[in-house]
């Protein structure tokens, strides 16, 4: 494959996979929790939380990226203490790309999990409680296994979205080859130089294939939630 793709392109793919994987894995617990809260609980500010979660879907990605830069930059509201206390810098690092990708993919993750949760009867957890299971045990043994296909479907979608995230990423962490240059950033860079169309096209094909595969897979998995719940 290396004879076919340029080292730069390969590096971008490698980085994108790393960023997307971390973004998905790290946002999964939060995604499940937020989806559960939105699907099952009634609390003040629920609509606000719902809006915040979905905001990156609507907002121009460059705005999200800029807000991230303001908050997590070296002198930002969160970035400054993060650097002062833990020595952690996110801006212009691949870890920052993980954060940007996670936030941009979060709405897709939460939506898929919430959809699966809404198909599961909350009364099943009540039944588990009367059989001696704590709230957490009931969730872990009843609800979670039932929504698992939905959780994986959401994770796959989030992964694909994270692979392709561009606007917020380039604003927050720039486009540094080998450090923050993910696949979309590489495509953009290739298109900026004369004669780069060929290399860009290769990455375009890979991106389209990946996105399509992810959509199909998540569709199949989502259907399995219904099958599981029917108990057949």
């Amino acid at each position: 494959m290396s004879g076919w793709l340029s080292p730069e392109a390969l590096e971008a793919i490698r980085l994108s996979l790393k960023v997307a994987l971390w973004a998905t894995v790290l946002s999964l617990p939060a995604g499940i929790f937020v989806a559960y809260a939105l699907a099952r609980w009634r609390f003040p500010g629920k609509q606000l939380l719902n809006g915040l979660v979905h905001l990156p879907l609507i907002l121009p990605p460059v705005v999200t990226g800029y807000l991230l830069l303001l908050a997590f930059g070296r002198t930002g509201l969160i970035g400054q203490p993060l650097y002062d206390w833990f020595g952690i810098t996110l801006a212009f690092r691949w870890t920052g790309a993980v954060l940007a990708a996670a936030i941009m993919a979060f709405p897709l993750l939460v939506r898929a999990i919430r959809l699966a949760l809404e198909a599961v009867d909350p009364k099943l957890e009540e039944a588990a409680k009367t059989l001696g299971a704590s709230r957490l045990l009931g969730f872990a043994t009843i609800t979670l296994p039932l929504i698992l296909p939905g959780v994986i479907a959401g994770a796959v979608l989030a992964f694909a979205k994270a692979m392709g995230e561009f606007g917020a990423t380039i604003t927050f962490v720039s486009n540094i080859p080998g450090q923050t240059q993910t696949v979309p950033s590489a495509i953009y860079a290739f298109l900026q130089v004369p004669g780069g169309e060929g290399a860009a096209l290769q990455l375009v094909v890979i991106s389209v294939g990946l996105a399509l595969g992810a959509l199909l897979l998540s569709e199949v998995l989502s259907r399995r939630v219904a099958k599981r719940i029917s108990g057949r």
Partner: protein, 364 residues
């Protein structure tokens, strides 16, 4: 074992304010839909926290709002069989049944498991998923699942309401065996008087969130004063008897303290104890001994109470041996016959007026 419940709770614009005790056996919470029965059992289970109340089981305080005690559901060890089976769809019948043992970290008791599986006839279903069970089978599995968690008490909220009458009669014998073979006390919510008459040892009548009557089932059900709140048309008494034998012409003879009863053939063996609900509407009365009557059962007794209703009906309670029988007649007939307490009277009951579903097995 006793459960003592006192609670007050406001919901949907009406107040639930009850106080009652449930001794061993099956205590039926009887009342029409929306009378607050489910609120009461949910509070006992800990699924609902009432505004004020105190629930004590065998000396252990489960809830005491004044003292700030509210034991979580998972730690109350109270089984709950819901109206819908609520089986876990991704687990087999066996996994469903063993869930409570696992969640409570109980030691395995294969003898008890076998006993429950045998009682409920679940042996051939263990490897199935819940989606492949019939409604009656699901409800039996739910019952087994609750029992295997070794509850100190079992709550049942209209467990038969979602089933058709064939499935109901499939489950009722299991519940009778549960009542007689396992020592687990049961709080049974129902709005069906025939179910209550067949199963309950104690009856608590609930109406609009208050307790109207409570006491031993035979006493409450045959009380003419309670008849209006139980439903006049469904009123009836309970007789305890023993099956003597079957005749060739399709009848069975039951002996009880007041004599003998001939009823349509009963699927039981001679010597078995039975519990028969006699609907008040099926009992006619005569001051003189009726001869050449079509009623096969003529029981001689003494009038205990006559209650003239607000409309055209009257309810008469008659003592026959150690048992009581209720008769529902017209107020005019009661007046013409000049019925009053203390008079000797003949109660006539046509054999076929007793429905097969009104005859249950019991162990005295």
């Amino acid at each position: 074992m006793t459960l003592d419940v006192t609670l007050t709770h406001q919901f949907d614009g009406f107040a639930c304010d009850v106080e009652f005790s449930a001794p061993a056996g099956i205590t039926a919470l009887f009342g029409h839909s929306g009378s607050g029965k489910t609120t009461i059992v949910n509070a006992v289970a800990g699924l609902l926290r009432p505004e004020a109340g105190r629930i004590v089981m065998d000396g252990q305080v489960l809830l005491d709002t004044a003292a700030g005690i509210d034991l979580p559901t998972a730690r109350r060890r109270i089984g709950y069989v819901f109206q819908e089976a609520r089986l876990f769809p991704h687990m087999t019948v066996r996994q469903n049944m063993l869930y409570g043992r696992w969640a409570n970290r109980l030691r395995r008791d294969t003898a008890h498991e076998a006993q429950v599986i045998d009682l409920l006839g679940l042996g051939h279903l263990l490897t199935r998923l819940p989606g492949r069970l019939s409604g009656g089978e699901s409800q039996r599995v739910a019952l087994g699942r609750a029992l295997l968690a070794r509850p100190r008490m079992l709550l049942m909220d209209e467990p038969l309401a979602a089933l058709d009458s064939a499935r109901k009669s499939e489950i009722l014998p299991y519940l009778e065996r549960l009542r007689d073979d396992f020592g687990v006390p049961i709080l049974y919510v129902s709005h069906s008087l025939s179910e209550v008459a067949r199963l309950a040892t104690t009856v608590v009548v609930v109406e609009r969130g208050t307790v109207l009557r409570s006491g031993p089932a035979a006493e409450v059900l045959s009380d003419p004063e309670a008849a209006p709140s139980l439903g006049i048309r469904e009123a009836g008494s309970i007789l305890q008897g023993r099956l003597v034998g079957h005749s060739d012409d399709g009848l069975s003879e039951i002996a009880f303290s007041g004599g003998a009863l001939w009823l349509p053939k009963i699927a039981a063996n001679p010597g078995e104890d039975l519990r028969v609900r006699i609907a008040a509407g099926g009992v006619t009365l005569s001051r003189d001994e009726p001869l050449n009557t079509s009623s096969l059962n003529v029981l001689h007794g003494v009038i205990d109470t006559v209650r003239i209703g607000r409309s055209a009906g009257a309810m008469v309670r008659i003592r026959v041996g150690d048992e009581v029988i209720l008769s529902r007649i017209s107020a005019r007939a009661a007046a013409q016959m000049a019925l009053e307490a203390g008079q000797p009277i003949y109660a006539c009951l046509a054999s076929i007026s007793v429905a097969r579903s009104d005859i249950g097995q019991t162990r005295v």
